[in-house]
C-alpha cells in the first residue's frame, strides 16, 4: 500500500476541505478531457488555479504540481501534463488530513 501523505490543515477551515477536495477531483476530470483534446489553454488554467489555491488550504503539493502543470501546458508538453495528472490522482488517494 502506498504511503500516506500527511497534510496538516488549520482546524478553522475544516469545513471548507470537502469542497476543496471535490474541486480537485473535478480538476482531474477536466484535465483528462483537456489532455485528450489537447486543450492546453484549459490545462494552463487548471494549473494556474491549483497553484493559487493549494498552499492556502495547507496543500503545498497542490501548489507545486499546479506550477508544473501550468508550465507544461504553456509548452504544450503532453507528457508532462500527463505526469502531473497522474501525480494529482495518486496524491488525492494517499492524502491524509490532520487538523491542527
Amino acid at each position: 500500500m502506498a504511503d500516506k501523505v500527511i497534510v496538516k490543515v488549520e482546524a478553522e477551515i475544516k469545513d471548507l476541505i470537502p469542497n476543496f477536495l471535490a474541486n480537485r477531483r473535478k480538476d482531474i476530470a477536466a484535465l483528462e478531457r483537456a489532455l485528450v483534446t489537447r486543450d492546453y489553454r484549459s490545462c494552463q488554467d487548471i494549473g494556474h488555479n491549483m497553484k493559487g489555491v493549494g498552499g492556502g488550504y495547507g496543500f503545498d503539493d497542490i501548489t507545486t504540481i499546479g506550477i508544473r502543470l501550468e508550465a507544461a501546458a504553456k509548452n504544450n508538453n503532453d507528457e508532462e501534463i500527463a505526469a502531473c495528472l497522474a501525480f494529482v490522482r495518486d496524491y488525492l488517494e494517499r492524502v491524509e488530513i490532520v487538523y491542527v
Binding site: 478553522e12 471548507l16 476543496f20 494556474h48 488555479n49 493559487g52 489555491v53 492556502g56
Partner: protein, 386 residues
C-alpha cells in the same frame, strides 16, 4: 463574525475566536473562484472583519455603489472586466480613489506588479495566500485608511468652522454677495479685516429725523421697535447695493462704498442707495404718522475721497471702521439736510455725473460746515429722485 454576501456567494458561518470582537472594518473580496473567496473570507472574518464577497468586477462595482468598503481585495485574472481594469476604475473616481486596493494574484512576474502599481493598486498578495501575510497587509492598510479618513474629517470640520467664522464676522458689515465671494475663496477674510489702508471711497451718512420727539412721546419698547425698523431698512438697502455698514450710533448709520473692495461705480451706488432709502422710508414714515402720530423723515449726506479703513480701537474693543475727511463731510451734510433730502458734494456729483440724479441736483449756496475752513459746494437731491 458573520460574512454577509449575496446568496449565491455565501460562505458558511465561521468559527469566531471572540464573539465580542469589535469589527475593525469592512472588506470587499472580489474573486471569481469560490474556493478562494471561501478561504480568504474565513481568515478575515475570524480576524474580526466584516466581509462582503463579489464573484466578478461588475458585481463588485454594484456592491461598492451600494456601500463603500474600507478595503478591497481584488483578484486580477477574472472573466469579463479584469481586476486591473476595476482597480483603474476605482482610482479614477474621486468617490472611491481613497479606498485601499490590494491585488491578490497568482501572477508573480515583476511586470505584473508594475502593471498593478500603474493601475493604482496599494499593495499585493501572491497566491496561494498566506494567512499571516494577508492579515498583516490588511491591518496595515486599514490603519492608513483610518488615519486618512480622520485627517479628512478634521480638515472638513476646520473648514466648516472657518466658514462659519467668516460668515459671522462679515455678515454684520458687508453685503451677502460679498460674504458669498469671501466664502468661495475669492478673497482672504483675515487679510480683509487685518489690513489698514488709505483708499478712495464714498461715505454715506443717514439719520432718522424726529427721533428726539419720538423718544419723548413714545414708550421705550415702541421707540426701539421703530429704530430697529429704520435700521433694518437702511441696512438692507446698503447690502442691496453691495455697500458696507461701518457704524450705527443713536439714530444714524454710516455706510461705505468702494470699501473693503474697490467699486468703480461707488458714487452711483451711494446715490442709488440713498434714493432707495428715501423712497422706502417715506412709506414707513406715513405709517408711523398714522399709527403713532409722530412725524419722521430721513436725512442723508454723501461725500467721496481718501479715507482710512481698518480695525480701530483699543485692545479690548475694536471695530472695523472708516475715518477721514469724506466721512466727516458726509456727517455734516447729513446734519444740514432736511427731512427727505440728500446732500452731496460737488466732488461726489462730478464722479457720478452720468447718474440720472446728477441732472436733477440743485446747487445750494456754498455751505460753511462746522469744522471746515472753507465753504463747500453742495448739491441737494430731493425726495426719491434717482
Amino acid at each position: 463574525m458573520t460574512i454577509l454576501a449575496p446568496q449565491s456567494e455565501r460562505a458558511p458561518a465561521p468559527l469566531s475566536r471572540n464573539p465580542f470582537t469589535v469589527l475593525p472594518g469592512e472588506i470587499l473580496l472580489v474573486d471569481d473562484q469560490e474556493e478562494t473567496r471561501l478561504l480568504i473570507a474565513r481568515h478575515l472574518a475570524l480576524a474580526g472583519y466584516f466581509v462582503r464577497c463579489a464573484s466578478s468586477a461588475e458585481s463588485a462595482l454594484q456592491a461598492i455603489s451600494e456601500r463603500k468598503p474600507d478595503l478591497v481585495l481584488l483578484d486580477v485574472v477574472m472573466q469579463g472586466m479584469s481586476g486591473l481594469e476595476l482597480c483603474r476604475h476605482l482610482k479614477a473616481d474621486s468617490a472611491t480613489l481613497s479606498i485601499p486596493v490590494v491585488l491578490v494574484t497568482g501572477l508573480d512576474r515583476r511586470s505584473d506588479r508594475v502593471s498593478g502599481l500603474d493601475a493604482g493598486a496599494d499593495d499585493f498578495l501572491t497566491k496561494p495566500v498566506d494567512r499571516e501575510e494577508l492579515l498583516a497587509r490588511v491591518a496595515s492598510l486599514m490603519r492608513l485608511h483610518e488615519a486618512r479618513a480622520a485627517l479628512e474629517a478634521a480638515r472638513i470640520a476646520s473648514e466648516v468652522q472657518r466658514r462659519e467664522h467668516v460668515q459671522r464676522t462679515f455678515e454684520r458689515y458687508v453685503s451677502p454677495k460679498l460674504v458669498r465671494a469671501i466664502l468661495a475663496g475669492k478673497y482672504e477674510p483675515d487679510e480683509l479685516l487685518a489690513r489698514q489702508e488709505r483708499v478712495d471711497a464714498v461715505a454715506l451718512f443717514v439719520d432718522l429725523r424726529g427721533f428726539t420727539r419720538m423718544s419723548e412721546r413714545l414708550d421705550s419698547d415702541t421707540v426701539v421697535g421703530l429704530l430697529n425698523e429704520f435700521f433694518s431698512l437702511v441696512t438692507e438697502v446698503v447690502h442691496r447695493y453691495e455697500g458696507t455698514v461701518f457704524n450705527m450710533a443713536g439714530d444714524s448709520l454710516l455706510a461705505g462704498f468702494g470699501v473693503p473692495l474697490p467699486q468703480p461705480d461707488a458714487a452711483e451706488r451711494a446715490l442709488d442707495a440713498a434714493a432707495a432709502m428715501q423712497r422706502s422710508f417715506g412709506a414707513i414714515a406715513r405709517r408711523w404718522q398714522g399709527r403713532y402720530g409722530v412725524t419722521a423723515g430721513m436725512g442723508a449726506g454723501i461725500d467721496c475721497g481718501s479715507v482710512i479703513v481698518g480695525n480701530v480701537g483699543s485692545p479690548t474693543y475694536m471695530c472695523y471702521t472708516m475715518i477721514g475727511d469724506a466721512v466727516n463731510v458726509a456727517a455734516r451734510l447729513m446734519q444740514v439736510a432736511g427731512s427727505g433730502e440728500t446732500l452731496v458734494t460737488a466732488n461726489l456729483l462730478q464722479r457720478a455725473r452720468r447718474h440720472p440724479s446728477a441732472a436733477r441736483a440743485t446747487l445750494l449756496e456754498d455751505l460753511m460746515l462746522r469744522g471746515k475752513s472753507a465753504p463747500l459746494m453742495t448739491y441737494r437731491i430731493a425726495g426719491n429722485d434717482t
